[in-house]
C-alpha cells in the first residue's frame, strides 16, 4: 500500500463521519464513538496530527536546555508498531523531528505505543547499544498497576477495573504524593493515567532526575509497607514503626479508606471472598473462632467490623507483656494495609533505564488517552470518563461542523481542514481540554523554577 492510497481512504472515512454524526451531547457521542482496536492506526494518524501536544511535550522533556540543543536528542524513546514490533533506542533531535516521525503516514510505521526511556550519555542511534553509552539521567518514576492488588481485590481481577477498585489508585496517589512533596521536598510531580488500569508518576525535579539507583530504591523502600518474603503467611505486613510520622499519616488515610470503601461500600464483612481472607489474617486459631462466633450473630458489614475490632483489641491487650505482643500489637492496621496500601513495582523505579508509557499517548487496547491526573482532585478523576481517541475524533468533527456553520458556506472543506492550528489549541475544543491545561500548568511551573535558578545564578555572578 502506498502513501497516496492511505491518504485517500482515510480522507473519505473522515468525510463520511462528519456527515453522519450530528449529536453534540457528550454521552451520546461517547456511545456513538465506541473504540474498536482494529481502527487504531487510522485514528492514531489523526491523533498525532491534531491532538498530541508536541510543543508542551518538547518544552517538558527538554528541561530548559536552551543553549544545549542536544539535550532532548539524548533521550531514548521506544516505539511499538503494529503487531508488537518494538523499536528501541529511538531518539529525536528536536520537536520537529519527533513530529515528523510520529506523523508518518504509512500505517506500518505508526507507533501504537510510545515509551520514554532515560537520557543517555551520548546520542543513541541504533538498536545496538554501544556499551560505553550509559543512562545518566532519569525522572524518578512510579508505576502502580491494579493487577498487583489481585490478591486482595474483591471485585475484579487482572486487567479489569471498576468503580469499586479504582479508589485504590486514588489512595495510592494521595499517600505517595504526600511523601514525595512533604517528606522528600519534590515539587514537580506529574501523575498520569496509564490508559487502562493504573497510574504512573513522574517526579521531574532536577534532584529527582539525577538520583542514583541506591537513592531511588531507598525512596521506594521508605514508601513500602507490603514487603516480599513470608510466602504462605496470611498476614504478610509487619509494622513496627507505626509512630513514624510518615507511617502514621499513611495509616490515617488507610483506615479511612478501609472503612469507607471496604467495610461500607464493598461490605467486606459479608463478602464470600473477602471475609475468609480477612479472618485468616488474624492468624490465631482461637481468635478466629471467637470472632467468627461474634460475627455470626451480628448483621451488617460495619457492625461486624466494629465487633471484630473490639475482639482484636481485647486479644492484643491480653498479649501485653508477652513476647508475642510485638507481633500482634499492630495487627488491625497491618490487615488494612495489606488490603489497600499502595503496591509499588520496585523494578520500575529503581533503575534508570526502565521504560514508561508516555503521557498523552494512546493505550492500544482501550484507545484511551494517558491523561494527567491532578493529585489535589484525585478523588474526582474517573477513568471511564477519559476520552478515547475515537471519541476525540467525533468531538473534533462536531467542533469542525460548528466552525463551518459560522463561516461562509461557500468556503471549501479543504480550506478549513488545512488551516494550520497547533494541536494544543485544537485539542482544547474537545474533552481533552482540561488535560492540556493541566499539562500546561505543570510545564509552566517547571519553567518558572528554571527561571528562578537562572536568576539566582546571575545574582551570584553579580556579587563577584
Amino acid at each position: 500500500m502506498n502513501d497516496g492510497e492511505v491518504e485517500e481512504s482515510s480522507g473519505s472515512v473522515l468525510a463520511e463521519r462528519r456527515t453522519n454524526v450530528e449529536v453534540s451531547d457528550k454521552a451520546t457521542a461517547k456511545a456513538a464513538a465506541s473504540f474498536q482496536p482494529e481502527e487504531l492506526d487510522e485514528l492514531l494518524r489523526l491523533y498525532y496530527q491534531r491532538f498530541f501536544p508536541f510543543q508542551l511535550f518538547y518544552r517538558w522533556l527538554n528541561y530548559g536546555h536552551i543553549n544545549d540543543r542536544n539535550f532532548f536528542g539524548l533521550r531514548e524513546f521506544c516505539l511499538t508498531l503494529k503487531d508488537d514490533v518494538y523499536l528501541r533506542y529511538q531518539s529525536f533531535d528536536n520537536q520537529a523531528k519527533m513530529e515528523e516521525r510520529l506523523r508518518q503516514k504509512d500505517p506500518r510505521v505508526i507507533p501504537f505505543k510510545i515509551d520514554i526511556g532515560p537520557i543517555y550519555s551520548a546520542r543513541i542511534t541504533d538498536t545496538k547499544l554501544n556499551p560505553s553509552i550509559v543512562p545518566v539521567e532519569r525522572e524518578l518514576i512510579f508505576d502502580i498497576d491494579m493487577t498487583d492488588y489481585d490478591e486482595v481485590r474483591l471485585c475484579c481481577s487482572g486487567a479489569d477495573i471498576c468503580g469499586k477498585c479504582w479508589p485504590l489508585m486514588v489512595l495510592a496517589i494521595k499517600i505517595i504524593h504526600r511523601v514525595l512533596t512533604e517528606d522528600f521536598g519534590f515539587q514537580h510531580i506529574f501523575w498520569v493515567f496509564s490508559g487502562r488500569r493504573g497510574v504512573h508518576c513522574w517526579v521531574c525535579d532536577k534532584k529527582a532526575r539525577s538520583l542514583k539507583q541506591a537513592a531511588r530504591s531507598a525512596i521506594v523502600e521508605y514508601l513500602t509497607m507490603i514487603k516480599g518474603g513470608n510466602v504462605g503467611k496470611a498476614r504478610r505486613v509487619q509494622i513496627q514503626d507505626s509512630e513514624h510520622a510518615a507511617v502514621a499519616k499513611a495509616l490515617n488515610l488507610v483506615r479511612a479508606y478501609f472503612l469507607r470503601h471496604l467495610v461500607r461500600e464493598q461490605k467486606i464483612m459479608e463478602s464470600k471472598k473477602g471475609l475468609p481472607k480477612l479472618l485468616s489474617m488474624l492468624e490465631d486459631e482461637t481468635l478466629i473462632a471467637k470472632v467468627k462466633k461474634t460475627i455470626d450473630n451480628t448483621h451488617g458489614s460495619e457492625k461486624r467490623w466494629n465487633s471484630l475490632v473490639e475482639e482484636v483489641t481485647q486479644f492484643v491487650q491480653e498479649k501485653k507483656g508477652t513476647p508475642e505482643y510485638r507481633k500482634v500489637r499492630n495487627m488491625l492496621d497491618e490487615m488494612q494495609v495489606q488490603f489497600c496500601y499502595p503496591r509499588l513495582d520496585v523494578n520500575v523505579s529503581h533503575g534508570l533505564n526502565h521504560l514508561l508509557k508516555s503521557p498523552f499517548s494512546i493505550h492500544p487496547k482501550t484507545g484511551r488517552v494517558c491523561v494527567p491526573i491532578n493529585p489535589d482532585f484525585a478523588d474526582s478523576f474517573n477513568p471511564f470518563d477519559v476520552p478515547t481517541v475515537k471519541q476525540l475524533e467525533h468531538e473534533l468533527n462536531v467542533a469542525y461542523d460548528a466552525a463551518k456553520n459560522q463561516m461562509d458556506i461557500s468556503t471549501p472543506d479543504d480550506a478549513i481542514e488545512n488551516k494550520k492550528v497547533s494541536p494544543e489549541v485544537e485539542a482544547k475544543k474537545t474533552s481533552l481540554k482540561e488535560s492540556i491545561i493541566l499539562f500546561e500548568t505543570f510545564v509552566r511551573r517547571l519553567e518558572a523554577s528554571w527561571k528562578r535558578q537562572r536568576d539566582r545564578a546571575e545574582d551570584q555572578k553579580m556579587e563577584f
Binding site: S132, L211, A214, Y222, G228, V231, H244, A246
Partner: protein
Amino acid sequence: MEVFGSAQKMVKREALTTNKHAPTFTTNFFLEPPYYESINLQEFEAYAIERLKVLRAFENVAFKSPRGSPEYAEAIIKDINKDLRYRYIRPLTITSEDVLLENKRRDVLSHFILRMVFCRNEEQKRWFIQQEVDLFRFRLSQEDASTISLFLKESNLDYTPLPDEEYRNIRPILEKSTYHYNNSQAIADTEFYKIDFLEALDSVRQRKVYLSQGWAYVPRRLLLDVVCGRYRDHLAMELSKLSRVIADSQEENRLIPVLNSLASGYTGSSYSAGEFEFGITVDNLDQLSNESFPLCAKNMHEHLRKDHHLKHHARLQYGLYLKGIGLSMDDEMKLYRTEFMKGGMTDKAFKQHEYGVRHMYGKEGRRVNYTPYSCIKIITGNPPGPDDHHGCPFRHFNPSLLQQRLKSYGVPPKGVEEVISLVSRGHYQIACTKYFEITHKEKLENALVESIQHPNQYFEESRRLLHPETVKETQSTFLRKPAEPVNVMQNSSTAQRAYSGPAGPVSSFDETADDFLGDIDLDAALLDAETSQATTSNSMNTDPSNGQQRAA
C-alpha cells in the same frame, strides 16, 4: 577526584587525607594507596590471607549476632586472635612506634591487595565490600566519642547540629519518628543533625529517621551509619575502577594467577552453561525435578507446570538455572511456550517472553552471557511478593509452608524438624544441605557434604551421585571421604575456612534487620559506580590512587 564528595559540599581530597593525627586513628577510609615499595609475591599472598582471616571472622560473627549488639562486639574480640586484633582492629597503643607503623603498613597493603583480588566479579565485590564496611564500622565504634568527632572533622564530615530552637519545636515528632531500641535511648537523643536525605540513605530506607522537605533528621547515634554509607559508596566506586584497570593491564603471568588462587576459594565455578553435559531436554525435566532439583528450582518448576505461568523474577531465576544445567535455548523456549500457551497466552503475547529468553542466553540487548544465581544472590536478593515463586524456600517460605512442602516430598519428621530448626536460626544454606543429605541418603552412605553454595551445584552433585555415567566432567570437590575430618556444621570456623573465602550461610535479614545497614542495594551502588565511572573513564588510567600497581 570527587569520589568522596559530599552531596552538600564538595570535599577536597587533600582535606580528607591530611591526617595530622595519623597514629591515633585506627579507622581508615583508605583513600591513600600504600606508599611505593616493592614486596615479593610471597608477602603479597601472606598479607592477603591474613586480612581474609579477619574478614571471614566478621562474616561469621554477623551470622550469629546482630551488628552493633554487645554479643557482636564480644564475638569479634574473641574470634580474632591477639596479633591480628592489634593489627586490624584496635592498636596496642603502648608499644613501639615501629610496631605501630608496621601494623598500619600491613593494614593498608592488605586492604589494597584484597581490592585487587575481589574487584573482578560482582558477587565477590559484594562480599568484600560488606566485610570491609563491617570492619570499618567496628573500628569506628570502638573509638571514643571525642576521637570520632575529631575523625569526622578531619574527614570533612563535620555536620552541623540542629539549632536548639528548631529542635525544641519539632522534638515530639523527632522522638516518635526516630528509630530506637528502647525509651531511654530515645530520651538520650538530644543532638540531631539535619542532613540531605541522599547522605542518609540507609536510615531513610528503613524509616529510621524523620524526614521533611528532603532533610533527614539524624540523631548523633545514627551518624555512624551515614559515614559507613559513604565508605561503602567509595569502595564500590574504587573497585569498579580497579576492575577496568586490571582488565586493561597486560599482566597475566605473575600477579593474575595469585589473584585467581586467592579468589578461587570464593565461588568456584560460576556454573555458566556448557560446563557439564547431563543430557537435559524438555522431556526429562519433570523426572529431573523430582530427583535432583534443589527446592528453589523444584518450586518454580512445579508452579510453572501447575499455573502455566511464572512472573518476571522467577522466569529469570529459573531460566538461568536451566541454562546453567545445560538446557538449550530452543528447549527453554519450547518449555515456556508450551506452558504459557496452556495458560491461555497468545502467540503474540508470548513474543516479549521470547525476547526475554533470548536475552538470558545473550542473544539480545547487551548480549551478556548471564550466569545462574548463586544462593547468596537468591537469599539476599529481592524477596518474592504475592504470586511470586522465585527466591529461596528456606529463606522466604513461612515455616509452616516449608514444613508442609518438605513432608510432601517425603522427608521424615525428624529431618523436617532438623531443617526447620536450622532455618529458624538463619542457616538457610545449611538447611538446604541438610535437605540434600536427607534426600540422597542412600547414595551418600557415609560421605559428608560441604554446604550448598549454588542451586546448580546442588543439581550437579545430585546427578553425580545418582547417575555418575551422565556426568562427563571433573571430579567432585563437594564430597569428602569420611576419613577427612571435616564436619559441615563446624565448618565455618575461621581457621579452617580462612582461605576459602566467603562460604557458609548468609545471615538472616530478619534477625539483624533492625540495625543492619542493608547491603540489599549494593548491586545498585556497584552499578551506580560503574555508570558514573563510564563517563569519566578517561581520567582513570592516570589516577594516582591505583596503588596496586606500585604495591606489586
